[in-house]
Amino acid sequence: MLSKRIIACLDVRDGQVVKGINFEGLRSAGDPAALAQRYNREGIDEVVILDVTATIEKRKAMARTIQAVAQEIFLPLCVGGGINDEAHADAAIEAGADKVSLNTAAIARPELLTALARRYGSQAVIVAIDAKREGGAFRIYVRSGRQATDRDAVEWAREAAGRGAGEILLTSIDRDGTKSGFDCELTAAVSEAVSIPVIASGGAGTFDHFVDVFKAGKADAALAASIFHYAEHAVVDLKRHLAANGVPVRR
């Protein structure tokens, strides 16, 4: 049976892993390559490197960090943050990324998704959507959650899939860093609207939150950062918990 994927996110700034709360107040959690190696040993299914400040500070994807992480793992590796044209995507992929994730640039220039899907295949193109509840809908924010758009998350997810995106990395801005659980309603709304996999992100605080997002949220994968960074064996224990609750996982 197809397993639900557990993805570790390395939010990287200046070559170090950091984790913010609601995208603010970053604190350090360690060396990206060392963490990736540990997660690999513990059985993580995939790794995402996000250059958390790149869009704001206009920094390019950190080729050296990508290379260092790619050397340690033989798992799918996704890189995002500040990728705003084909040259940035090329640099990330040449450095060892299997997938690139686009956020602000995809909204601004959706044709970039199609161009990258043609070049590398849809499996290499992830659209990252940062959404916030407003009224009864989910409004998309860009530029690391700082700038509101007039786009709706479900509608944009559909369009992005149609334009060649192969997966959606869906972050709830309301939940990110709060440890209060994933936004299952948001995740289910997007997951049911598209035929491509949806990776839920933002809010993981307990193992039960993962059970919820796979069952109620209909997520295909779940991504978290700090829950893995600060506790040894968290990946092993999480997978044991998911399996005990009927969620298929790789062990």
Partner: protein, 205 residues
């Protein structure tokens, strides 16, 4: 020396990284004539079967000749599908036809998995080992590997492992010295590396 065929279907960075990690000597041949004297051939590739159009007819002929001379061949993902006669995805194109059968879109009629059935099939799924093979030596029943694809090869006599997702499809095939894997061994952790090592051993490195 292993020949890694680059026909523009996806990037080869992670395949190169895995081969390098395993200590394999490999190069990307510039033209079909360069296949002469190669110890093994790897045909990787992701995406649409259309992409294999680049392989016809020169590469296809050269690869078929090399296989005829006994050169081990490994197809990865789209490379596995190309080992068959063709694919519904691009019906006018011929595959290598080293194995009988046609690849088809994965259908969800028999889906008994967890959650929403989606195509493409992306993620880690289990191998059901159908029979012993040099390709899967050391790989256990139920071991999981990483897939990302929408079309799949049928379960035939050449199938050495099948995987269930809506349907049962051939996740690994092998006939004599020709083999293919639908998953990505270069992204499938230790299990994937083991399979690549098995191929390299078959090719005598």
């Amino acid at each position: 020396m292993i020949a890694l065929i680059d026909y523009g279907a996806g990037n080869l960075t992670s395949v190169r990284k895995a081969l390098r990690h395993l200590g394999a000597a490999f190069r990307v041949p510039k033209g079909p004539a360069d296949l002469e004297g190669m110890a093994g051939i790897v045909v990787p590739g992701v995406g649409n079967f259309e992409a294999t159009a680049v392989l016809a007819p020169e590469w296809r002929g050269a690869i078929a000749s090399a296989v005829g001379r006994g050169t081990p061949l490994l197809g990865i993902c789209l490379g596995l599908q190309w080992l068959f006669e063709g694919s519904e995805e691009a019906p006018t194109l011929d595959g290598l036809a080293a194995m009988p059968g046609t690849c088809a879109l994965i259908r969800g009629d028999g889906y008994d998995g967890f959650g929403v059935f989606k195509v493409p099939h992306v993620g880690w799924n289990s191998l059901h080992v159908v029979r012993d093979s040099w390709l899967l030596d050391g790989v256990g029943e139920g071991d999981q590997v990483y897939f990302t694809h929408s079309y799949a090869a049928p379960v035939t006599a050449d199938c050495v492992a099948s995987t269930r997702y809506g349907v049962d499809f051939a996740s690994a095939v092998q006939r004599d010295h020709v083999a293919g894997v639908q998953f990505h061994p270069e992204k499938s952790g230790d299990v994937g590396l083991r399979i690549l090592r098995n191929f390299l051993e078959m090719a005598g490195r």
